[in-house]
């Protein structure tokens, strides 16, 4: 009974969340629906980084670059008239391959050094987007590609495309849930908690490090592949280092290493600035102050706090149960040591 309750609660919360996600955008205007779609896309990207960072413990400041790679792959291939599914698969495969390659430095250096390598990579990718005009059209950007038609249903309207993003988010979530529960997921956590012990227990840390990077990056590419048709215009400006930092912020603020952390983090990073629009130019200042205050109050992220509260309650309940048991033991005739 005790075990079933949290599972039921979780399933209920999931259904409620899903219901809200389906119902809310119906009442929103075009821009509101766009923001919700952007949230779904960013949640996918942050989920990928959460696997690399939160589960496998490899710091990456390059997730934004993979979103860019995915977006450009889709934009370039779709302007050449390919159906959406082909560019989508190419975007994911390409990000996977490049992510795998980016994992190699992680075999040599760790922690902040790794962060710096990925930071440099991220900036280099931006320079390529901006300068290789034969491929990316440089600062003029690529447009003239259309949103896909899925199973005969057009996603041209914002609302239809939002539901398409939501479905893709659900797909990504399912894949991620499967990975995290699989032996791979446990190997990733072992890698984060104690790489040397993992190695000594026979976990191929080398392969799993590369894998953590590759899968996380592929998620980034997947998000990018949705970003391109969402905005219907791809140019280098969104894919600066700032995007990578922003996605990293989503992961940390939501709760690094918690499955639903990226959803919350992306919600804060994408939706909160919009709610603060009433403050005009100051909205980013307020947003930044909020993020700082949040992190100072709870460095483990929002779900970290929830986790702490739950753990406290469990401990309290357990000690209450213990006290009750002790009182029962104190009943006459049961405990000979006490008078």
């Amino acid at each position: 009974m005790m075990g079933a309750k949290p599972a039921l609660l979780r399933a209920g919360l999931l259904l409620l969340g899903l219901g809200l996600l389906i119902a809310v955008p119906i009442g929103l205007n075009r821009y509101g629906v766009y923001i919700m779609s952007l949230w779904a896309v960013m949640a996918i990207a942050a989920m990928g980084l959460n696997l690399t960072l939160g589960y496998a413990g490899q710091v990456s400041l390059a997730q934004g670059a993979f979103v860019g790679i995915g977006a450009y792959a889709v934009a370039i291939l779709m302007t050449h008239g390919m159906p959406f599914i082909v560019p989508l698969l190419v975007a994911v495969a390409l990000s996977f391959a490049i992510g795998w390659a980016l994992g190699y430095p992680a075999l040599r250096v760790q922690h902040h050094y790794l962060a710096f390598v990925t930071l440099a990579f991220s900036t280099l990718v931006y320079l390529i987007f901006r300068n290789e005009e034969w491929l990316t059209k440089g600062i003029y950007g690529i447009m003239g590609f259309q949103r896909p038609t899925v199973f005969g249903l057009s996603t041209r309207t914002p609302l239809a495309f939002y539901y398409f993003c939501l479905a893709m988010l659900a797909l990504a979530t399912a894949v991620m849930a499967w990975i995290v529960r699989s032996p791979w997921g446990r190997a990733f956590v072992a890698l984060r908690e104690n790489p040397i012990r993992a190695l000594s227990l026979g976990v191929d840390t080398r392969r799993y490090t590369l894998m953590a990077f590759a899968i996380g990056s592929a998620m980034g590419g997947f998000a990018g592949a949705l970003y391109a048709p969402l905005v219907e215009f791809v140019d280098p400006t969104p894919f600066t280092l700032a995007l990578s930092l922003n996605i990293l912020m989503m992961v940390i603020v939501g709760g690094s290493g918690f499955f639903f952390g990226p959803f919350l983090g992306a919600a804060i990073a994408v939706l909160l600035p919009e709610w603060l629009r009433f403050a005009q130019g100051w909205y980013l200042v307020i947003y930044a102050a909020f993020v700082m205050a949040l992190l100072v109050y709870t460095p483990t992220g929002l779900l970290g706090v929830a986790d702490r509260i739950m753990a406290n309650r469990r401990t309290r309940r357990a000690s209450a149960a213990r006290a009750a048991a002790a009182a029962a033991l104190d009943a006459p005739g049961l405990n000979p040591e006490k008078p």
């Binding site: 710096f116 390598v117 440099a120 320079l127 280092l241 930092l245 990293l248 940390i252 690094s256 700082m292």
Partner: protein
């Protein structure tokens, strides 16, 4: 020939600024494991303190003093007490993210409260050129170089020769042992933050006349100082100096001889190469791996 000398000297002047900022960076890392992503904005801000004081009709010398004082208070003491102290024990990453948020906060705050445009900043040195080995070098560049190096030299002397400086070094190397030896570790860490604030204020006063005071001025400068610190050696002051000067020169030569589009890529390749083949930096010492 004169062109090369020109590039070299201009590069050294830029590099001296990078070095100032990079030193602060490494100091914060050493004493409190703070990777300050807002370091570039820390250089941007003091110039605006000065401009604000000038707008209130303060004379230049007073405005500079006010700028320095405000930097020490805001970027030194307040930064440590409000942001770093509560977050320190939760590891490097949340704190690093927090400094990213701080960088947005400072940038957007200045943009909204002062101006989104670049503002001229009074020059501290006479204009004009002098001839060095056939190259025309501005007095501005030379003064920047001399002032920055003098500051670095003073800092080195302070850290090496004075008792407080040595206590700060001990704190950086091993806080627990330093505490056992009776060194007031907390106060030493505070000094480090104050020194960083003074260094960025100086860098701000030196570069703002050249590049103008603008809310976004810190972006490239911060990244360059960051790269300089890593290339030179993240855990050594002399590494930061060498890295800063090297990066300034490389930067200038890249701008002249590599394509203008990819000049920014050269320091990044340098950074990747150094991290992969000599992660402790060109002049740093290796950090032991803890199991």
């Amino acid at each position: 020939m004169s062109n090369i000398v020109n590039l070299l000297l201009a590069g050294l002047a830029t590099g001296a600024i990078y070095a100032l900022v990079a030193i602060g960076f490494t100091l914060l890392w050493q004493t409190s494991q703070t990777i300050n992503f807002a370091q570039g904005e820390f250089v941007m801000l003091p110039a605006f303190f000065v401009l604000a004081a000038l707008n209130l009709k303060a004379p230049l010398w007073l405005a500079l003093l006010i700028g320095l004082g405000a930097s020490l208070l805001v970027l030194g003491a307040m930064f440590k007490l409000i942001i770093v102290d509560p977050m320190l024990r939760h590891g490097v990453l949340p704190l690093a993210i927090c400094t990213m948020a701080l960088s947005i906060f400072l940038k957007e705050g200045v943009k909204e409260s002062y101006s989104a445009e670049a503002s001229p900043f009074p020059s501290l040195f006479p204009s004009g050129n002098v001839s060095v080995l056939g190259a025309q070098i501005s007095i501005q560049s030379i003064s920047i170089f001399v002032f920055a190096l003098a500051a670095v030299y003073l800092l080195q002397a302070f850290l090496m020769r004075t008792s407080t400086g040595r206590q700060m070094q001990a704190t950086a190397q091993n806080p627990s042992v330093a505490k056992l030896l009776g060194i007031p570790v907390e106060r030493m860490i505070l000094y480090t933050f104050l020194i960083n604030a003074a260094l960025v204020a100086l860098a701000s006063f030196l570069v703002s006349p050249v590049y103008l005071a603008k809310f976004s001025a810190g972006e490239t400068l911060g990244l360059s100082a960051f790269i300089a610190a890593i290339v030179g050696g993240f855990n050594q002051i002399r590494g930061a100096i060498a890295g800063g000067l090297l990066l300034g020169v490389v930067d200038n030569f890249a701008a002249a001889y590599v394509s203008t589009q990819y000049r920014g890529a050269v320091p990044l390749f340098l950074l990747i190469a150094v991290i992969l083949f000599r992660p402790q930096g060109l002049f740093g010492r290796a950090e032991e791996r803890t199991v």
